[in-house]
Symmetry: C2
Subunit: 465 residues, 2 copies
Amino acid sequence: MKKTTHVPSNLTKLAKDFQSIDQMMTMLPVLKKMPIIDISEVLSLMENKDLFTVLCEFPISEQGEIFAEFPLVKQLSFFQQISKKRFSKIFEEMPSDARADLFQILTQQEQIDLLPFLNKHIRENVLALSSYPADTAGGIMITDFATVSRDMSCFEAIQKVRQDAPSKKTIYYVYVVGEDQTLVGFITLKDLIIAEPDVLVNDELHTEFVFGYVDESSESVAAKIDKYELVALPILNSKNQLVGIVTHDEAIDVIQAEHTEDMERFMGIISNNEELDYNQTSIFDHFKKRVFWLVTLAIVGIISGLIIHSYEGALAQMMILALYMPMVADTGGNAGSQSATVIIRALALGQVNMKSWFAILWKETRIALMLSICLGVLAFAKVVFLSWETDIPAAYSLVAIGGVIALALSLQVISSTIIGAALPLIVKKVGGDPAVVASPAITTIVDISGLLIYFSIAATFFNLK
Amino acid sequence: MKKTTHVPSNLTKLAKDFQSIDQMMTMLPVLKKMPIIDISEVLSLMENKDLFTVLCEFPISEQGEIFAEFPLVKQLSFFQQISKKRFSKIFEEMPSDARADLFQILTQQEQIDLLPFLNKHIRENVLALSSYPADTAGGIMITDFATVSRDMSCFEAIQKVRQDAPSKKTIYYVYVVGEDQTLVGFITLKDLIIAEPDVLVNDELHTEFVFGYVDESSESVAAKIDKYELVALPILNSKNQLVGIVTHDEAIDVIQAEHTEDMERFMGIISNNEELDYNQTSIFDHFKKRVFWLVTLAIVGIISGLIIHSYEGALAQMMILALYMPMVADTGGNAGSQSATVIIRALALGQVNMKSWFAILWKETRIALMLSICLGVLAFAKVVFLSWETDIPAAYSLVAIGGVIALALSLQVISSTIIGAALPLIVKKVGGDPAVVASPAITTIVDISGLLIYFSIAATFFNLK
């Protein structure tokens, strides 16, 4: 038990406290034994010049791997301060997906400066991979994988894999391709090891397999890796030729980014589908992501104002109604957001499907009934026991007023819960992402329905205005 | 290109439409070629009696795998309708984690009925695994892994793995243990294949590795698998002995469940940390998860009522203030929820740390300033252009009133954004999960601060009451 994940955070502290290059060199033997990710975390804190010196102490293949784990902005600034010829060596050793990601953010001139130093194979690979949008399977796949042909023996296949392997990131699945590179099946490394050496690959071949297409969304690809518990998913072009694989760790990154996107959307923040860091996003970009919904909903809020305006007379006659307006509006907003959250997650995890929409709404209605009874009783008690100071018209007792407000709140909870549950289903039905049903939007909608319920019930019972 | 992921959904439809056992038997050859997950999806729709007949058509090892993928309630009902002796054969072939999960939900009597039919090794394994809480590493690990000792040659190691492998779910990492079963390092299957056959395992050994402990939280273990991009993470007991591994697909499940939990908590739904299905959760359980926050916040809403009550006189003098109350409250709630969402995600993804809390709040303040200008201008325009019908006191112009309401809204947006950003940081500081800062709670808090800002500014400028 020598190195653990606890050490790096100390080292990170060290690297921060003693940033002199000499001290880093002293730490080098310890550093070299750590996982690549941790080495990268420590080195990314250094100045580019010192970083270069330290990086040169690692074998060239590790230089690429360590560099690939730096944040993109760090990669870019390092790239800009080092000779392109020297950099090309590091670049060639980076995983193909990280290479394409960096290449995509270079200016055209920077790309032109770098390309001549790359060997032909790498150059073509970079140009091909960086042509795919970041949110497609093509944008997240790597091109290092092992292939064999079906007429090899398992022994020959292992020999082939052994030969190719050092340059492959993942060889747990060995893909079996025809002469035209179309994917005919796969065989796991485990199968190869277990099989008798002279058995043909063809006999162990899995011809039924899950795959993705290059232009498929990264989210769909990640969902397949999740569902089928794969270590990697083969990616095909339109001719069914194998062009790359997406690995399980990419799938986790996609799922994490999707979560951020869902949560932001649900809070009325416009998500631009790029995996951006909070700190790296400028204040103006943060502003742009948030302002649209805030302004839109404030405009829609005019309707609430108009409703209150039309009941101004009623309000003047019975001022106590103003006191409980926020409670009715807020409770409705909360209940609606809750049911929307539950339905959005259930849809995202595939726990409910569109066919059962009636059953879902019926279930939500029954839940809402239980909630409305609790909250109605609470509202009644609040009005009766806490309003002794408020002037009320002599014609009505506090109990009657409490009853009416409790009834209004109960109806508001029921309608809000149903609206909150129905909106994601409707959005899904018309082909949208249910997560766009933002909680602020629900709040604003049920505010309007709530005020209508509240005032129309009060006006009816008390003959106001 | 024969079977793809598109077929299963059709088959699911088929299984639903023609539930006769004969038709299912006809489909069997097609079914058998599908991935286990898909077979399981189709079969889970059948009646237990028919299901048993169809299941018997599969090899016994696949019976366990297919059965393990059924929802837990289906597993339970099947278990209850079949002889325990026959069931023990299926049970023994299930992955060890799925076995423990089912065992944990059996009644004590059911456990006692099943145990005698299990072989000794499996019985001990089930009892050991089911003793770990579901949200710890022990609760999600599997006990099938490959171990070798360091003095073996790579050739011998491969022979050992070949021998053991059929019973191991994952052999991509081969663990190297000492005589007392303490973990001394690992070697990947890839290393073994690439190495010359007579090289000692000891020479290829990775002695620096990431691991987890049995009592560590499942979320912490999943985060390690994510960070270090592992296919599996070794799990040790307090004596540093290797007792299990957690695989990458479990990590995805944990991350998904964690996200549901975060989102539910954020919407004021009490999350009970169990991965429950929407449909399988009873109405009463749904009710219980939601009612606590709704009632609590409705009670806290009393404060809003008291504030309005104390400004009743002001409201009566200037009824136009009532019209813009919802806009101020809602916009504040939305702005606060947005900043809280952004900070909670940034904390969850490790993009910001507690040391930079001042920088975060300063950044949020500047974003809020930009938002407040937009919304202030909007509020001013609303008041000036849409309030011609409302009676206002002769002493003040609509422009003056618009200016005051715009100022109040701007201050509300700024204070709400800062409150929304600060609350998760405070919760994290005192050691809690930032995601418990529920959006409904923020809404309620900024409602109170908003009403105070709104009425105190209006009262000051217009000398009300």
